[in-house]
Amino acid sequence: MDFLGVPFPVFAGQLLIGLINGAFYAVLSLGLALIFGLLNIVNFAHGALYMVGAFVAFLLLDVLGIGYWPALVLSPIIVGVFGMAIERFLLRPIADLDHLYGLLLTFGLALLIEGLFRQVYGVSGETYAIPAALQGGFNLGFMFLPTYRAWVIVAAVVVCGATWFLIEQTRLGATMRAAVENADLVRAFGVNVPLLVTLTYGLGVALAAFAGVLAAPIYSVNPLMGSNIIIVVFAIVVIGGLGSIKGAILSGFLLGIAEGVTRVYYPEASNIIIFVVMAVVLIVRPAGLFGKTA
């Protein structure tokens, strides 16, 4: 059974891998987009905090015997609170300076956090077992679908959907969108915008940590796992349109799939396809696929 010139199972297998990668891209770029919207900085620490999210899950299990399901909630909370402290005590004092300083600060933080974990855990990585309920898989006839991978996609879709709903459909989300447009005026209506900014940074970072926990059983829990993925995620945020929530989610999934499909037909290009797309998008639509053209 061939599909577009390749055996269908091969195609489906790569498509699945693409979707899984896309799930991580979507959750990570969503967090970046949220943060960029309100703080106007590209959060270079995002990859490192994703890694910390995975390590917190690992440590919860290793040290305290707390398993996957609680970790899925606890790790984003812990890392989110850590993120809020970063915003409040490091980013806020320099918020009035050129945004380049914020970018440099988060870049420095990323190096610091990664260096710290490398110092303690080396680069070989720790393993994290798939929780019992998500072991095994389904035989779809043409391919084997591991349960955990299906779960990753479902969890990412649900979390992205919930975040989209929060931003686009709730009162709090409307306040956040307004603050992105004109923070001063929102403040003059009595909204504590600095607090909103802190919470937004916390939420964006919590999403990164959530992705980290999802990743722990698939990839090894490794101090470098963040820097490996984050460059691609930056490209995706640019493709989707800086600060666009919908753009970040959709281009995350789409580019994951594009990567998978490329791996079927021209494997050599699969590592650069996203950057090729980014270049094309930047030439044709500089504001990104879903960005508002100024």
């Binding site: 009162r171 409307a174 306040t175 969108r177 307004a178 992105v180 447009e181 004109n182 001063d184 005026l185 929102v186 403040r187 003059a188 209506f189 009595g190 909204v191 504590n192 915008v193």
Partner: protein, 234 residues
């Protein structure tokens, strides 16, 4: 004389290095419409923004019912019961009309109900789902005023609500502002349109080069028309 609800004394403000306000002083009695008149660039908008806490570098004194506001951040100033409608209207393009209307949080009891707001501004009810900035200039101005009526703030700072609008709309806005006064709001109105200001206002202050240089009560306007026209340079 009744105690003023808002007392501005020696208010100074800077944008970066430029010293814009050089000691603005005036008082706003409760339940009145007080106007700030003056030429382009006199410092009227800067005065409102400084009261609201939106100009970073400011000094002097702004007292609201005895509470000193000068050192407070904008959100705390708003929560003391002052609402602001900016010159550029500040309608949010990423929010629809209804979201724009519901954006300012309630800061005190006694704000207008949504139904009452729609009664004053029927046009907004029919346009709830439109993007805020898709409204016409006049409708955007109505929206900008409407959304600060729900919050429970009793002092409204309105910056040139008639600017660039057709005469019929100006008239509607005049009617609404007078209605708001009847409902007990205190209004500080910045205007360049003196004919509009003289019809609506109870007390007028003239701002020039970042200072209040003169003051006219409603009854004094007729006798000082020449002087006022000279101040405004029309």
């Amino acid at each position: 004389m009744t105690e003023p609800v808002l007392t501005v004394e020696g208010l100074e403000a800077w944008y970066g290095e430029s010293h814009i306000l050089h000691g603005v002083s005036f008082e706003v009695p409760p339940g009145q419409i007080v106007t700030l008149l003056g030429r382009n660039g006199a410092g009227k908008t800067t005065t409102l923004r400084s009261i609201m806490g939106l100009v970073k570098k400011r000094k002097g004194s702004v007292r609201h019912q005895g509470e000193e506001l000068i050192a407070l951040p904008a959100n705390r100033i708003a929560r003391s019961g002052i609402a602001y409608c900016p010159e550029e209207r500040g309608i949010f393009s990423s929010l629809n009309v209804k979201e724009n209307l519901q954006l300012p949080p309630t800061i005190a009891d006694g704000g207008m109900s949504l139904d009452r707001v729609y009664e004053l501004f029927p046009i907004l009810k029919t346009r709830g789902a439109s993007q805020g900035t898709k409204l016409s200039g006049g409708e955007q101005q109505m929206l900008a005023i409407a959304r600060i009526l729900r919050t429970g703030a009793r002092i409204l700072l309105l910056d040139e609500p008639t600017e660039g609008l057709a005469p019929v709309i100006v008239q509607q806005i005049g009617t609404i502002i007078t209605r708001l006064k009847e409902e007990g709001f205190t209004i500080l109105l910045v205007e360049q349109n003196f004919r509009f200001a003289e019809k609506t206002g109870d007390l007028h202050y003239v701002v020039e080069h970042g200072e209040v240089v003169d003051r006219f009560e409603r009854a004094q306007v007729a006798g000082n028309r020449d002087k006022i026209t000279r101040y405004l340079g029309v």
